[in-house]
């Protein structure tokens, strides 16, 4: 309960901060619409030459695109800003202020900054997803819906843990912002079904940089092509990565010596 209250408070502060810069809203709106338009036009070009892409029909690709924007929105809404701020505060020593607060520091660090205009990406992703669902019609049952939400949560936990692990490396190394960039540039590969890629690339996008679990797997759940093993794998990996992230975070904190100590 307390966690939810904290999240609410931090979110409210971010909203108050950002509403001072209202023009940013329109800039973000413009950029998000352009990005979505580009993605849709790209799909249109490809599907003017084929009926299915690696077994995925246009409406199913639309669902995948929705998931891509939705998860991308979550990343740029809270995960990316929080982790970037964490790296800065370890370097400057301002993490001291967070550590003195009587709440779990990992939670505080993770929700410390919310880029609220990224909500637009998230909403747009939902819009695309709902459109895809309507077009797909009856083929999405209750089972698929439950699996989808489960896989979306697992994907979000996996991505969050992955980012936290990378950001925690800043306790040992000075420059790790670059590592975060790797995820951002590899995430674009998640716009397409992972099954399209050759084995080595599929492996890299699944286990080295877990993009597959963030986009393809939830979309597979929604379109009824998810097997039991993948489902368990995703849940298992989510729990495992979260635990590893927690351990690395703790070890890092023990190493942290503050600004002037």
């Amino acid at each position: 309960m307390n966690t939810l209250r904290l999240i609410y408070v931090f979110f409210r502060v971010s909203v108050l901060n950002e509403t001072a810069y209202r023009v940013n809203f329109f800039v973000q709106l413009f950029q998000s619409i352009l990005e979505l338009g580009t993605a849709l036009a790209g799909l249109a070009v490809i599907f003017s030459y084929t009926q299915t892409l690696g077994g995925w029909r246009p409406n199913e690709m639309l669902a995948l695109l929705g998931v891509y924007f939705l998860v991308g929105g979550i990343i740029s809404l809270v995960i990316q800003p929080g982790m970037a701020a964490l790296i800065d505060s370890v370097r400057d020593g301002t993490l001291d202020f967070t550590l003195t607060k009587p709440e779990d520091a990992q939670l505080l660090v993770s929700i410390q900054r919310v880029a609220i205009w990224s909500l637009l990406d998230l909403l747009m992703g939902m819009g695309v997803l709902i459109t895809a669902l309507i077009l797909l019609g009856k083929s999405v049952g209750l089972g698929e819906a439950v699996q989808f939400i489960g896989m979306l949560l697992a994907g979000a936990v996996i991505v969050y843990s992955f980012w936290l692990i990378l950001a925690s490396l800043s306790f040992w190394f000075v420059r790790v912002e670059n590592l975060l960039e790797i995820f951002q540039s590899m995430y674009q590969a998640g716009r397409w079904p992972i099954s399209l890629y050759p084995g080595w690339l599929r492996f890299a996008l699944t286990f080295i940089v877990p993009v597959a679990f963030a986009t393809t797997v939830p979309a597979e759940a929604l379109t009824g092509r998810l097997g039991g093993p993948t489902l368990l794998e995703a849940i298992g990996l989510a729990i495992l990565l979260f635990a590893i992230a927690r351990v690395i975070w703790r070890l890092g904190l023990r190493r942290y010596s503050g600004a002037s100590a």
């Binding site: 800039v27 413009f30 950029q31 352009l34 990005e35 580009t38 036009a41 790209g42 070009v45 490809i46 030459y49 084929t50 299915t52 892409l53 690696g54 420059r175 670059n178 590592l179 960039e181 790797i182 540039s185 590899m186 674009q188 590969a189 716009r191 397409w192 399209l196 890629y197 050759p198 690339l201």
Partner: protein
């Protein structure tokens, strides 16, 4: 005599810039590595997508087989690397931080150090990317109808493509003089580039009217044209027309640069001034 002295001075400037750029690239080798991942991944993804399409529609799409797409996108990866600039972000940073003041104090036009910085960094990145492309070629087995005259014309076409792209993007970067929201402008530019330069698909796969738009605008001449030329997909007439178009765009952008640079410097006032 004076002209000769000026050229020698410029050569000296370029060689000094190379040393600085080289040193800073060695220093930031990890950023370099990460930046190259995205340079490789984007064409690679489209290569895979279009090969899949080609295989599922009877082995060929718009005259490209899966191996034909492999050739197209691997060459595109290299040509894109050769003509690439990052000047639009650089200028936004320079103007915002007031760094441009130092450049303006120097006795040569700042475009010279930008060109030499750009070229020097490519002396390092291009061999790495060629190595990567060779590795990918072993996996995707590209084929193309290479012919000697196209290979010969490819060299001036590539240099002109670099010039067109560099000059246009340098001009566009000057938008930073007037607005701090250049990111939105850059994004529009990159989307146009994505579709009209042949990145999202070879231009011949687009509807006819869009191909005409692409012929009129500069984007195709910065990237798609040299790629198609090297792969032997253009006739003599098309190749000649392409070179003329490239040359025209070099002239147009040189004129634009003169006009916009003068106006821009007039409105520029450094932060803290």
């Amino acid at each position: 005599m004076n002209a000769l002295r000026e050229i020698l001075a410029l050569l000296h400037l370029y060689s000094q810039q190379f040393k600085t750029t080289f040193a800073s690239m060695v220093q930031y080798r990890i950023s370099l590595f990460i930046w190259m991942i995205s340079q490789i991944l984007e064409p690679l993804v489209y290569l895979i997508v279009w090969s899949t399409v080609s295989n599922s529609s009877g082995g060929s799409v718009g005259g490209y087989t899966a191996r034909g797409f492999a050739a197209y996108y691997l060459v595109l990866m290299l040509v894109n690397q050769f003509t690439y600039t990052w000047i639009m972000w650089e200028y936004e940073y320079r103007v915002r931080q007031g760094l441009l003041s130092f450049a303006l104090l120097k006795p040569v036009h700042p475009i010279h150090s930008d060109i030499s910085d750009n070229l020097s960094s490519k002396i390092i990145t291009l061999p790495i990317l060629m190595f990567v492309a060779a590795g990918l070629a072993l996996i995707f087995k590209p084929t193309a109808a290479f012919n000697w005259w196209a290979g010969l014309v490819f060299i001036p076409a590539l240099i002109l493509a670099f010039l067109v792209r560099f000059l246009i993007e340098w001009t566009l970067a000057l938008a930073a003089f007037w607005t701090t929201r250049v990111n939105a402008i850059n994004q529009v530019y990159f989307i146009l580039m994505l579709f009209l330069a042949g990145q999202i698909a070879p231009l011949t796969l687009f509807p006819h009217w869009l191909q005409i738009v692409a012929d009129i605008l500069p984007f195709r001449w910065m990237l798609g044209f040299p790629v198609e030329l090297l792969l032997g997909r253009l006739s003599h007439a098309q190749a000649l027309l392409g070179l003329v178009a490239q040359f025209t765009w070099v002239i147009i952008s040189l004129v634009l640069i003169r006009v916009i640079w003068r106006a821009g410097v007039r409105v520029y006032s450094a932060v803290g001034a």
